[in-house]
Subunit: 376 residues, 4 copies
């Protein structure tokens, strides 16, 4: 019997390091072991910052945790990189985006490439839970976990990760609604009214996606739209409504909806109010994690859920097919809404400016939609 000592190359690289659930983040050089199995070396070009990163950095995400047997984790689940060598599916120079959730390799959904429906809960998520993330100089990655980024959209490609979650969500909504005829008399969704709660990054991308799919879209928030928001929503043909503290003012205005999408992840009570704003055969999609409040749903509300054939669905995580669709969608938007698309990247920070990077990871600036850290 032979014992083979495999020489794993250890590569030092600049990385953004967290140690959840503890608070804090730092930039330092760490040695990362190159896996010995078939992987592609990738130079990270840019990382996107998202609310989840800030929750981890601020010690607010109880479920975040480093990889097994490690006492730190590289942060980051949104990245665009460049292949530094030829692989089987990719060529040197190709732009790529890594998929962030990886399956349990046990349940049928994971075995068929759909860890978004992992049944064991034993998946890992890069930069969030159980797997090093992408905020580092280099990445060694199996090609099967990579998406090709078309060069024509490299400026906005970083939006592909959050958009993949929304492509998955819309796909799920439309699948669920196929239990009846929910398309209109002309076969499209043009007769359907959607309400998007929240006008942050997710609210904006959701509104764009729903407009692309033909829905009429009202976006609401508790305040007036900023000029930027005004330009974006006008550009895509969506309405913005300031509902103040009470979503139910919409009902007073007799505004009812076929689809309500909670893109705010703020107050649980939005669910009870949403039920009261939903039309027959309507659907309420919950995206993001409410951080406070209680939904007090009366028995009369539930009678409506039954009587109107309503559905409430939890929406999470896009997978490879949704990343691919997200790339196509961004390419589409770049041709159709070039001016809107330009509004979406609101800042870029070179990794060398460590103070700004740390600061951007600690708190969101007013008016921010998507900020990128530039690695190379």
């Amino acid at each position: 019997m032979f014992i083979v000592y495999i020489r794993k190359k250890s590569v030092p690289m600049k990385s953004l390091i967290v140690n959840p659930p503890e608070k804090g983040v730092e930039i330092k050089d760490v040695e990362m072991v190159k896996p010995t199995n078939q992987v592609l070396k990738i130079r990270i070009l840019e990382s996107g910052i998202c609310g989840t990163d800030r929750e981890i950095v601020n010690g607010l995400m109880a479920t975040a945790k480093p990889p097994v047997n490690e006492n730190y984790m590289v942060l980051g689940h949104e990245a665009v990189g460049q292949a530094l060598e030829d692989g089987v599916l990719f060529h040197m120079g190709d732009l790529v985006m890594p998929v962030n959730r990886r399956g349990c390799n046990k349940c049928l959904n994971c075995l068929t490439g759909r860890p978004d429906f992992c049944e064991t809960g034993e998946f890992v998520e890069a930069g969030i839970s159980g797997l090093h993330g992408f905020m580092r100089e280099f990445l060694y990655e199996k090609e099967e976990n990579l998406i090709l980024v078309p060069k024509g959209i490299e400026d906005i490609a970083i939006l592909g990760q959050p958009l993949s979650d929304l492509e998955k969500s819309l796909s799920e909504i439309l699948t669920v609604q196929r239990r009846m005829i929910w398309t209109c008399q002309d076969g499209t969704y043009r007769c359907r009214k959607a309400l998007v709660i929240g006008s942050g990054t997710i609210g904006i991308l959701t509104s764009m996606l729903l407009r692309s799919n033909g829905f009429q879209v009202d976006v609401v928030n508790r305040r007036d739209a900023t000029d930027k928001e005004f330009r974006i929503f006008e550009g895509i043909g969506a309405n913005y409504i300031n509902v103040g503290d009470d979503l139910e003012v919409l009902k007073a205005g007799n505004l009812l909806f076929d689809l309500i999408f909670d893109a705010s992840g703020s107050d649980a009570d939005l669910l009870s109010k949403s039920i009261r704003l939903t039309k027959n055969n309507g659907i309420i999609g919950l995206f993001g994690f409410p951080s406070k409040g209680i939904a007090s749903i009366t028995h009369q509300d539930l009678q409506k859920v039954v009587f109107k054939s309503l559905i409430v669905v939890g929406l999470i995580n896009g997978q490879k097919p949704h990343f691919e669709r997200a790339m196509q969608r961004l390419a589409e938007w770049k041709s159709v809404w070039p001016d809107v698309v330009k509004e979406l990247i609101t800042g870029t920070i070179p990794v060398s400016d460590s103070n700004s990077v740390i600061s951007a990871l600690q708190r969101k600036k007013e008016g921010e939609i998507k900020v990128k850290i530039i690695w190379a």
Copy 2:
């Protein structure tokens, strides 16, 4: 221009009359106009009594109302009758069951035979809202609204109407769950655990239906099972659990479910508890109308809904395809569970015994599953 005076035959017949939302019911002879369009004359053989009938009789159903321009309504939405003449689809002597909900003739779902998903809400329901029901000696009915009742199951066919609602409900649940792989490694549903809340008529029929479809079934109620319930649930291979006043004792016992079906329509709070008892990728079906309580769903609960890809769906009304499947199901059960099936009809009352009929319409007897009024 010609004016044609069409002679509509007016036929007096014994009927069970209500005037919702007023309380009360009486048996009397009413004159009912025979429609002039293509209808089949049917002798009603038996009527089923259901909880909705009692709500109407006891003045508790605010949405019940007589047909337009009438000051009374014939009660009844569960009936087996016999064709008294040859039609196009049916022959004299055929046993038939009328479908109870009729569409709005406007929306796409109604135009395609699916008023269970009526979008305008302008449907009518025999014996409940806007249309005379079936508790009367004769019925004139368009053949398209009739289902053939196989003679081999005439003793239990009256269960076809409630079962049609459940066939529709299960069909909807399975359709919704096809957005992922929800079948087991052997392609069936045998690995799936279902919880049925309530052991009344609907709870029993739901449990039977789920067992037929391969699910593992736990049925719960607040009390011990009656002997009859014990025989039924043992006969079909379901477990009965007395959970007392707190459904969450199941959680203490580490019992979690893939499917939770509220067949009790009692307390809204069952929804919040159900969310806490649901596995990843689980579904909660609401059937029936909770009459009290509030579901207090915390933001942590809603985080679970999102994180676990849960779905909550309102389930109502079976249509013609579901009535047909219900007839097939009853025929199947008669061969597979002959002893269980015999337990389901717990009483028959001749219409001539008017006191007993009125009394049965006012309150449910202990141990009742399905009681029939016999007309002929």
Copy 3:
């Protein structure tokens, strides 16, 4: 390192032995090794004889072959047995039916319990190719490969295997047709006309299945119906038509169909004729293997396929979910069509009468629908 010698019990038992692709069959005692993994001991009660068995016995099936490294194969893929011990899912005394096709354990369809769509082609089929069949006294089988046979239908349960293939086929047809609205104005299939080609076992079971699902059914063959066929088709409400040698006489009679199901597996030319008999949005299902002929499909025929959105689909093999549905269907039919069901088992032969068994395996008797070999 330990080497464990596992003691496999070798059990002699009477079996029907073939050695495909060589001609011939014999009854003899063979020693069969009991697998050491978790299996249930089953006594075979009865075996069904099917056309495939006869093809193997007569040396006409080129693809038939014994298990790897064996020079003989036990014949038989239709069986009802009885559990001789308690298992996890089954109890001693339970009636069971083994599933006949077993997956490759590699492709996604096999991993999810659907070897009917095996992509590698490396599945095995009991009694046909690569796996010993069920025509023997005892069977050791993993519980996951067994279906529970309801006791109320034990007399006809042997039909469950061929019927499972047809449940799968119909399920596939209806799934494919969901790409449009193919249900009728009342939500059922009652407006759809089906043509079943062939009135053998498969033709009869298909006709019954289509009638159960609401289709109008015409069955055709080249000759007049036998008295038995007449009783069966009248009993289920299907029409029988003698089309002689030319299926296209139906066209002369202006009979066109929404669904054409080739249950004859005889002449390839039936496909070209079927195309000419199909309505807009129609589907042609091919079941069984044509043994002669050429389908000469003109470019005009193909223009029709395109213009009418026709579909031609190859239909094969039912799996566990279809076996379960087949059992339910037989139970349903026993209640709905008790007299028809009695016509279907046309003979039983005790295995002790070896001459009759051999003879029955060599040629089909006139009027035969399903013949059973009785083992115990």
Copy 4:
């Protein structure tokens, strides 16, 4: 009773006139009645020329016919126009594309906006059968029949009509294949090999669409690729193979396919050859109308169709949802494959150059992909 004489404005306009099934085409001013119902006035900007136009002009399309009670027909079913007034859904100045097939208003598919699956066959097709086409200066059109053309793609938008047919076709193929697991281990279609027969306009657009959806694509024709074709297929990552006169050379090279798409509409015999080139669970899509030949499909071929669960599907006509997707797809391609997209419009002819227009309608030039007539 009142008789209302409605004044229909008759508008003279330059049009391309045919009188099918007679041969010939001419440019002349015709008076066209403005419909009195709600329509939008549109100025036609450009018309696309397609093979069907040439068949009509050359008298080769037997099914082409003018509108009822008219002795001529305006040609053209591919057009981009501009709204000359504000409507309900569109604004003055919007670019629009009219949908070419209009439903029968009777069958369920047409009532739900899907005349591509018209069941009565009583639909009309602009410029082809029963409805005036779009090769004229102005169009009065109901807004429901119009698609918004994003301004960013106006240069290639004319491709939207043929592409809508292909979006519908692919949607149908993927729907049909959902009867099994046909996605790969990573949830995409990247493991699937597609063969596109023909490298004309349809072959090119199909290849692009399949590449966008992740398929591996081989395109075949009887000759070497032109330089333009080479650039296009290299640009999108598809392989081009010269198969000469015999498609089955692919089999010799052991090339088998999951999806075969006949984009040539040439010889019926390609079907028989395609069957022999298809993998397990494969699908063959027929698009376009073979104009010659016979598919001689042997009984061995049909055995394969059954054994391998193959499917053959006729693919025709995109509807409004597919036009919308086609616009999105063109917008995507413009960002992703800007150089390829530039190759697709191979000529523009001002309508004033009547000789060139007539000539272009009579025969296809070598190397042509899409030629546009410019109206304004």
